[in-house]
Each structure stands twice: as structure tokens, then as C-alpha cells.
Symmetry: C2
Subunit: 157 residues, 2 copies
């Protein structure tokens, strides 16, 4: 999924990843997917134009971040978009962005926390529990979101 | 620095960070800055158009990722762009991208390694030494790049 330039065969792995996720909508669609969105209508909550969302979802399927599953939607078949393993492995990128945002673009109305399920404590690392020192993936972490501080949201994987 | 939409006041810290770095050129300029580039001419090695580079550098200064320093360039004053603390704190984002790229977009011609200076071993985490379990920043990590596998590159900070 080339964006402006094609870095898919670059010798630098940062550039090869930028080729896939160096786009604001791709990152926000991923966030929604981790929060449980699967249907086109759910991703529209991002405030994204329908044609842009269609292109991004198709590109993310092509790039192997999402897989498209068909289900019976009544009059016609409908689609769900589910995180693949490669998509779920982008969680540290979102976590690194979340930690930077809380540190350098703080808001007074609440913080996002990345909570390691096993120990129940927030981690300050993108991919490791700060307390237990074990790697954490989508299966091990829940998000405490500023908009629902009372709840812990398990992540899709 | 708004890109397409303005997420700078979003309740989600991921969106607030995406507002700043959800752009392929911003991420690649950051990579070059960590590798030691400071001058406009050095960043041009990215293959970026001059007008696009000018806009990105100005935006990154405005966003507090880079600071512009003036030096005597002979006939006229010239500028260097140096990572700020906030810019250097984006290292985990680049590391998370590097680790994902090596895992899901591998190339046979060499791997990038993130080497913890203190122990000399590569880490598989974006922000923590996998072996020593200590947080690592630009001051603690060197990059082994596929293009120069014999060398360890200390990072700018």
C-alpha cells in the first residue's frame, strides 16, 4: 500500500513499515479495530469520508493488517474487518504513540492507561510490562480510556 | 501541525500523537535526525522534494520535535535542525516500526538491530532492553543498520 512514495523494498525496516502505516487514518482505523470495531459503519465513527474509509480498509486488507470476513446481513452479504496477526503486532506502535501523547500533549480531562492484565498495573512501555518485565501483546493488555475511566477495555486480537 | 484533519485536542492520546507524526515524511525525517542529519541538504537524501521538506521541517519545529539553530555558513546564516527532548522521546515509535518491519516485511539483505549500549545486546522491545529490563532512550541505544552492518551508530539526542 504505497503512500505518495513507495518504500516497500527500502533497506530500512522503519521505511518499510512507514510504507504501510505512515498514514493517520490507517493508525486510527487500527485503534478502532483494537477497541472492537469490525464493521464499516463502526469505523465511520472516526469522522472519515466513506470513500477514504473504503480505500483505507481495502489497502489494509491488501497489506495483511485486516482480513475481510463475510457474514449474512439480511438482504445482502456484509463484511467484517478483523485484525490479522500482523495487524495485532502493530500494537506497540499505537502504545508508543499513546505514551508520547500523554507525555507531550497532555490533557487535563483524563489519561489513557495501558494496563497489564496479569498484574493489574499500568505499564509505561509500548510492549513490556514495566512491573513484571514480560512482553505484552493485545492478549495481555487492556486500555483504560479517558472517555470511560471506570472501565478496562480488553483488546481485540 | 494538522494533517488533513485536526486531532490536536482529541481525547485520545494516540490521535493527538497521530496529529503530529501521522505522516511518512515526518517519521523519516525523525529517523534521519536520529542518524545524525541536521542540515537541510542532509535531509534531502530522503528523496523528498525541497518544498515538501521545507514544510515538514517548519512544521516539526512548530510542533516542538526539532529546534532550529543558526550557524555561520559563509555568505549567509544557515540552519541546523536538532532533535528536542520531545523529538527524541519519539524513538520508541521508530523502534516499534523497525521491529514490525523486520518481522512482517523482512528482507534477506540484512537486519536492523537496536543494540543496548550497556550490555551490547540487541533488544526486541521498542523502549526497554530485553535482557537488562531497563528503559532505553536515545542515549542508551545504537543502531546496527543493514547498509553498514559492521558499524554501530550512536543516536543523536
Amino acid at each position: 500500500m504505497a503512500l505518495r512514495s513507495d518504500w516497500s523494498a527500502d533497506s530500512c525496516p522503519i521505511a518499510r513499515s512507514v510504507d504501510v502505516v505512515g498514514d493517520p487514518w490507517v493508525l486510527l482505523v487500527l485503534r478502532e479495530a483494537f477497541e472492537g470495531a469490525t464493521r464499516f459503519e463502526e469505523f465511520r465513527a472516526l469522522g472519515i469520508a466513506d470513500n477514504v474509509l473504503s480505500r483505507r480498509l481495502a489497502g489494509m486488507v491488501e497489506a495483511g493488517l485486516l482480513e475481510r470476513a463475510t457474514y449474512d446481513g439480511g438482504n445482502r452479504p456484509r463484511h467484517r474487518y478483523l485484525l490479522t496477526g500482523a495487524g495485532a503486532d502493530l500494537l506497540p506502535v499505537l502504545h508508543a504513540l499513546a505514551l508520547w501523547g500523554e507525555r507531550h500533549r497532555p490533557r487535563s480531562t483524563g489519561r489513557m492507561e495501558l494496563v497489564h492484565e496479569a498484574c493489574g498495573r499500568p505499564t509505561q512501555s509500548a510492549d513490556t510490562c514495566s512491573h513484571c518485565h514480560v512482553p505484552v501483546t493485545a492478549a495481555d493488555v487492556s486500555w483504560r480510556l479517558p472517555k470511560h475511566p471506570e472501565a478496562l477495555l480488553p483488546l481485540a486480537r
